[in-house]
């Protein structure tokens, strides 16, 4: 069943005002999960460096509003970011409208001076006055931030803005899972100093570029090349890097991360006690939503109770160590691995590149929405249920199967230790770069079913 996009309405707009002569911004929040929605305030306090924090959040706002793939019917829209509050941290995250750039601002305890009143994850209202308010914060100014409302002497001049119903497309939510899977495979390739970073970003084209570029790091410089060389990092849609420009004068260092396949690139900007992460999809016209990266380790269907149970065991933003959890909770390692894959695929596990570990957060969406976001997984389940898969030979690690397709076509699937192959259109177009096709996934499920 198709799940419609998540439409929501804030009970009121985010508001700018003053509390005891200090500038204050109260961000409205909204979640599909009622218990989180009822929370009046998650966090209330100040930023240690309000100017820096504001600049990062303006950049996040710019990212979520940007749109790099111009497609018919898709309009540039401001998608509200989500925030995870807990374990002494605030994490603001969001995607560009086209779903091709993911940005996250990680603020740890040292960058905040306030009260963590409730833990949770919620959408926050980033309306135009909010962005302007962040823009206006001066270098020496302080800003009070409330995620939700707290009883205070809040005085506002903001006009009464009536919040409209907005919708967060499912593909946006779907990308949250895929991007974390990419991140967990990445390693730091190199780090640039502030001056190196400024020099490098000056070479970034400002107008859209179709071809891939490659980031070359040499002893004393870093530059873009139009040609792949050993040790270079691939970046598709290099003009998307311009999103980082605004923060360059404030940055301490910039780290570049990539995985072996170099499909996606991550960049972390390090500031004092704040980090801002950007992840760029493998192509301008390839949003993170369609990647299917999470499917590779997902061949088991776990009951909802297991997933919901995790919320009792883990807190928002808490480091998620699967092995430790298995030992502490006396759970089978295989089960915990399947659980990790499932949680990751539906975006319940985030990945912190800096600390190289997963963290837990309960996204502000209902479980059935999160689970419905992977049509390839659902289609593979259908192939198994309808008995469309026939294993024709199984010799050691090599499996040959025939899978009934549409219009009288039968696909051949071969699984072996080197490569999984299929004759379908998806596999032809994407090979193994965008996750498994439904036929290979179906065969894997069938084998798993037979083995269990």
């Amino acid at each position: 069943m198709k799940v419609v996009d998540f439409a929501y309405q804030y009970h009121q707009a985010s508001r700018l005002g003053t509390i005891a002569d200090e500038k204050a911004l109260l961000l409205s929040h909204c979640s599909e999960i009622e218990t989180d929605n009822d929370v009046s305030c998650f966090f209330y306090g100040r930023f240690a460096d309000s100017f820096l924090a504001s600049q990062c959040l303006v950049t996040l706002a710019k990212t979520v509003r940007s749109h790099f793939a111009v497609a018919q019917g898709l309009h540039m829209r401001l998608r509200d970011p989500i925030i995870s509050v807990g374990s002494g941290q605030l994490r603001f995250e969001g995607f560009s409208s086209c779903n091709g750039v993911y940005a996250r601002v990680d603020m740890d305890e040292a960058s905040l001076d306030g009260e963590f009143l409730n833990a949770g994850c919620t959408n926050i209202d980033f309306n135009n006055p909010t962005i302007r308010a962040f823009n206006e914060v001066g270098r020496s100014e302080k800003l009070i931030l409330g995620i939700g409302e707290k009883e205070t002497n809040f005085i506002t001049e903001t006009e009464n803005i009536i919040e409209k119903k907005v919708s967060l497309p499912n593909r946006w939510i779907k990308g949250l899972g895929n991007v974390q899977t990419y991140l967990s495979d990445m390693e730091c390739a190199f780090t640039l100093t502030k001056i190196e970073a400024i020099q490098f970003f000056r070479t970034v084209p400002k107008t859209p570029v179709k071809s891939d570029y490659y980031i070359v790091k040499e002893t004393n410089k870093c530059y873009l090349s139009a040609v792949a060389k050993p040790g270079t990092l691939r970046i598709a849609g290099v003009h998307r890097l311009a999103l980082l420009d605004r923060l360059l004068t404030l940055v301490d260092s910039v780290s570049f991360y990539a995985d072996e396949s170099q499909q996606s690139l991550a960049i972390t900007m390090h500031f004092k006690n704040i980090r801002m992460l950007f992840v760029f999809s493998p192509g301008v016209y390839r949003g993170f939503s369609g990647e299917g990266k999470t499917l590779e380790s997902q061949t088991m269907v776990l009951p909802d109770d297991y997933i919901l149970g995790m919320n009792q065991l883990c807190k928002t933003n808490e480091a998620f160590d699967a092995n430790l959890l298995a030992i502490e909770s006396n759970v089978d390692f295989k089960l915990i691995n399947d659980l990790t894959a499932t949680l990751s695929s539906i975006g319940l596990l985030g990945y912190d590149l800096h600390q190289q570990q997963h963290f837990y957060r309960r996204l502000p969406f209902k479980l059935n929405r999160l689970k419905s976001l992977n049509p390839r997984f659902a289609n593979a389940q259908k192939l198994v249920a309808n008995e469309y898969i026939q294993i024709t030979s199984q010799n050691g690690g090599a499996v040959v199967a025939q899978v009934k397709g549409t219009d009288g076509v039968t696909h051949k699937v071969i699984l072996d230790s080197n490569q999984n192959r299929c004759t379908c259109n998806w596999y032809t177009n994407h090979q193994d770069k965008r996750g498994l096709c439904k036929h290979i996934l179906g065969v894997k499920m069938k084998l798993e079913e037979a083995n269990s």
Binding site: K62, S140, R202, K221, V400
Partner: protein, 901 residues
């Protein structure tokens, strides 16, 4: 009733129509609705469609028809009187929910009076929701005046955004600035509640529309309409609240489209804020320095210039905010105006000087010589002398001579990465070894479309034809479907699909489905046909041109082995196949064993192959019987050029191949820049001798270049193509692509269409990816790419030049002279070249080349016909001379003197 109603509508008297419907019962109104919905105006009322009419008659007919249509709309609307009736009509009669309402709210030919009269009698209780729905429709239009009337009558609630949009969207033809201004003056509530709220919304004011302006009928962006309306207000002394200035200033911090923000700036200027007003909002103004929009930055600096000497000016905030601009690119003019303001603040506030050296040093990253020098001066001014070197140290590699002089530091010798000239090891490849691999390899071919994969597939199929399963068609079906479901433009895929179709269908004879007009890769069509033939004849002989190493090379050891297989089984080789195999040869020393085997070859091609592999030095064109074996000329001529790219081969001067480019002499072509002008345009066109690049389909057929036989690949006889096809083409001539590159040269460096962009990208990308050498006039192609309009082409060319310098394969003179001629003849803007020269962090070898290029630009310069910014070339030449510690050539001194005259 039907006839009466139709007659009333035909009469276009809406009052009588409304009166008529007013008297009807609900049942009769539904009946009337049925008639109206199925009414065909042409057939039922007018008896014709009017298309046969002409002139005034036609005009009259359609004017009347529009009125009838409007009358029908109001009649349909009047058939239901409230939400409940409307709902019933929608459910039972299929009435459009808001179709007629939408027409009545736009600009109906009968005006808005009918709908107002109807609603007065039957106040609507359904409008709010429907109007929102209409507003969401892509091409809907709601006239603001009627919307306001509905609101005034309390028939709809006030929705600010909807009202503002309705007012500010200017549809074609029916708006007038004067009328709109008067309407707003006459309706102060609308002026206040709607007009003055526009700053909150990113309205589509950048769309182009047509309207009646104050003085003439205009076709322009909608924002000019509203600027004129504001001007009218100001002229008529209509009071505009000053809070609008604040709101407009605030809006400049929105992430909106730049032209929209620019419009807000022009409105602020129109409202002429006072210094006091600006000072009141100065905090906001400092925040603008973070803006991405150059116009906002310029506007900010303009304001700062106006207020920075005032007492209330916040100097500390300026010094805190300005550094964000210090590293920005292409803001030289803004910086030149901002820096004196910064200097003023620093001079008058001692306490602000503390952290400024660190911030000012960032400005040394500016590329522009003047801007960099200004930062250097300020740095020297505000930094203790002893500390200057410390602050400057990280930036010395990017400093220009002038800045170095100001700062009093020496440029460090730049450490450049040593690029290894060691040849990369070639990666061997092999065709599919079993049926499964062959089957999935079809998918790989569809995916990569590469010459290597397609050729390996053909080889695999020929070798494995004995073990193809009986149900191969069933297994092939998914791929057959994939190939046939898509529209292919690439010739590579058209030929591949043609082959798979023939194989899948089990044809006995090869059926051609690709048009013969396609002529960019005839070899692939030829190859697929001979592979098909081999399947028919169960011939499993190897294909000579099948690549053995990536990306598409054939190793001499394997080529000789393949030839021996033919000779041992007394089978004839395919000469076309051998030509391509020889063109794809890996330039390595063959093994001793191979050399021995080469000596023992028997075929008439043996001397050519022996020459290619270095077994023999003599060119033996003589056949067994005739004095010249003409059949072997394509092989011989290309083998010679592959082996000795720079040599002349007089041996071919008396053969029929003598006139074919690249055969006797290396490929050199003259070129010139031809200027074509009219009153409104000037084109600078690159003309290569013999119309060599006159290859595009839209060029004058009279000047078509000469055709050459298709087997002479080094004469580039094939048609131009794109992307994957280009890669297949280059796989046929990797060792000598000069003539081919020149075919791809667009005739202009600016104003190209997509095909031109691609021509200056994909061939160049291939040269770099496959590390191919350019020898002769191919450098003309590199020269053009270096100053081409697309940045990617310029960067690829710079990369290729660096690659050639590192491998010592660059033709400096030809490259520099070509660029010199192009620049001096205004073929491309000087800036494209100076951007290349000013690129920071370039190795000395590149700078030496750049010096030669600049020198050639100066030498080619003609007095009275110098391109814009030519002075920049002279300046950069001087700077490079100093940097490389070289002396100026006396001929240049003379030339510069003559140019000055």
């Amino acid at each position: 009733m039907k006839d009466q109603l139709f007659n009333l509508i035909k009469g276009t008297n809406w009052k009588t129509v409304l009166d008529f419907l007013d008297q009807l019962s609900i049942e009769d109104r539904y009946k009337a609705l049925g008639y109206l919905m199925h009414m065909d105006i042409n057939q039922n009322l007018l008896g014709q469609n009017g298309f046969d009419l002409k002139g005034v008659e036609r005009e009259k007919f359609f004017d009347n028809r529009k009125k009838i249509s409007s009358c029908r709309d109001i009649a349909i609307l009047a058939c239901t009187r409230n939400k409940e009736e409307l709902k019933q009509a929608i459910n039972e009669f299929g009435l459009s929910e808001y179709g007629q309402l939408s027409n009545c709210l736009a600009t109906p030919d009968l005006g808005h009076e009918p709908i107002i009269q109807f609603f007065k009698k039957y106040p609507p209780n359904y409008l709010d929701g429907l109007i929102k729905k209409i507003a969401k429709e892509r091409f809907s239009r709601i006239d603001f005046k009627i919307l306001w009337k509905l609101y005034e009558n309390d028939w709809i609630s006030f929705d600010e955004e909807l009202f503002v949009r309705s007012l500010f969207i200017v549809h074609m033809f029916d708006r007038s600035t004067v009328a709109d201004a008067n309407f707003l003056i006459d309706h102060p509530k609308a002026f206040e509640m709607v007009f003055l709220q526009f700053y909150k919304y990113e309205l589509p004011v950048l769309d182009i529309s047509k309207w009646q302006g104050r003085y003439d009928f205009q076709c322009a962006k909608v924002n000019t309409f509203w600027t004129e309306v504001l001007e009218i207000f100001l002229e008529k002394n209509i009071k505009i609240p000053r809070t609008l200035v604040k709101h407009l200033l605030e809006s400049l911090l929105n992430n909106w489209k730049k032209p929209h923000l620019n419009w807000h700036i022009s409105l602020i200027k129109l409202l002429a804020p006072t210094k006091a007003e600006y000072l009141k909002h100065q905090k906001l103004i400092f925040a603008f320095l973070n803006s991405d929009n150059i116009r906002t930055l310029n506007f900010t600096v303009e304001i700062l210039g106006l207020i920075h000497k005032e007492k209330e000016f916040d100097h500390a905030a300026l010094i805190a905010s300005a550094p964000t601009l210090f590293i920005r690119e292409k803001v030289d003019k803004t910086l030149s105006r901002l820096l004196p303001i910064v200097e003023f603040s620093l001079d008058n506030n001692q306490d602000l000087k503390k952290d400024i050296p660190q911030q000012l040093s960032l400005g040394l990253l500016q590329v522009n010589t003047h801007t960099q020098s200004k930062f250097a001066k300020l740095l020297v001014k505000y930094t203790p002398k002893a500390d200057v070197a410390t602050w400057v140290e990280p930036y010395t590699s990017v400093l220009k001579i002038k800045a170095l002089e100001i700062l009093g530091v020496e440029k460090q010798v730049e450490e450049t990465e040593v690029h290894s000239n060691k040849k990369e090891e070639l990666q061997p490849i092999s065709p599919p070894q079993n049926w499964e691999d062959l089957l999935f390899h079809i998918g790989t071919c569809i995916n990569t479309k590469s010459a290597c994969d397609i050729d390996l597939f053909f080889e695999g199929l020929v070798q494995l034809q004995g073990i193809i399963p009986e149900d191969y068609q069933k297994q092939l079906k998914p791929y057959h479907r994939q190939l046939n479901k898509r529209f292919w433009e690439l010739e590579v895929m058209l030929y591949f699909k043609e082959f798979i179709d023939n194989w899948f269908e089990g044809n006995k004879r090869f059926v051609e489905t690709v048009s013969r007009e396609k002529n960019s890769i005839p070899f692939l069509r030829y190859k697929s046909k001979f592979v098909f033939e081999r399947l028919q004849k169960r011939n499993m002989m190897p294909i000579l041109s099948t690549p053995t190493h990536l990306p598409f090379y054939v190793h001499p050891d394997i080529l000789i082995d393949r030839l021996q297989v033919y000779e041992q089984t007394n089978k004839n080789i395919d000469l076309e196949d051998l030509v391509v195999a020889a063109n794809r040869i890996v330039k390595v020393m063959p093994s001793k064993n191979t050399l021995e085997k080469a000596k023992s070859l028997k075929g008439d091609y043996k001397f050519a192959i022996q020459y290619l592999l270095g077994v023999s030095d003599s060119i033996k064109l003589k056949g067994k019987i005739l004095p010249l074996n003409k059949k072997l000329l394509p092989l011989w001529s290309q083998v010679c050029r592959t082996k000795e790219p720079d040599k002349s081969f007089p041996e071919f001067a008396k053969t029929p191949a003598k006139g074919i480019p690249s055969v006797v002499n290396p490929f050199y072509k003259d070129f010139r820049i031809q200027v074509e002008t009219s009153d409104v345009w000037t084109w600078y066109r690159l003309k290569i001798a013999d119309n060599w690049n006159n290859t595009r389909w839209y060029f004058d057929k009279k000047d078509k270049p000469k055709d050459y036989p298709v087997s002479y690949y080094y004469a580039a006889p094939h048609g131009l193509t794109s992307r994957a096809d280009i890669l297949y083409q280059i796989s046929l001539l990797p060792h000598y692509s000069d003539a081919w590159l020149c075919r791809y040269l667009p005739d202009t460096a600016s104003g190209n269409e997509v095909d031109g962009f691609e021509q200056c990208q994909y061939p160049l990308q291939a040269l770099l990816d496959y590390k191919l050498k350019v020898y002769h006039s191919g450098w003309l192609y590199i020269a053009q790419c270096l100053i081409f309009e697309k940045k990617i082409s310029r960067e690829l060319a710079a990369e290729y030049i660096l690659f050639s310098i590192n491998n010592d394969t660059i033709n400096r003179e030809l490259l520099a002279k070509s660029i010199g001629v192009m620049i001096a003849n205004k073929y491309a803007p000087v800036k494209r070249l100076t951007d290349y020269v000013e690129k920071p962090g370039q190795p000395k070898t590149v700078k030496e080349l750049q010096l030669i290029i600049l020198l050639n630009c100066i030498l080619q310069g003609q007095p009275g016909y110098l391109p814009n910014s030519f002075k920049k070339i002279v300046t950069l030449y001087g700077e490079l001379l100093k940097e490389l510690k070289m002396k100026e050539d006396p001929t240049i001194t003379e030339k510069l003197k003559s140019l000055k005259k």
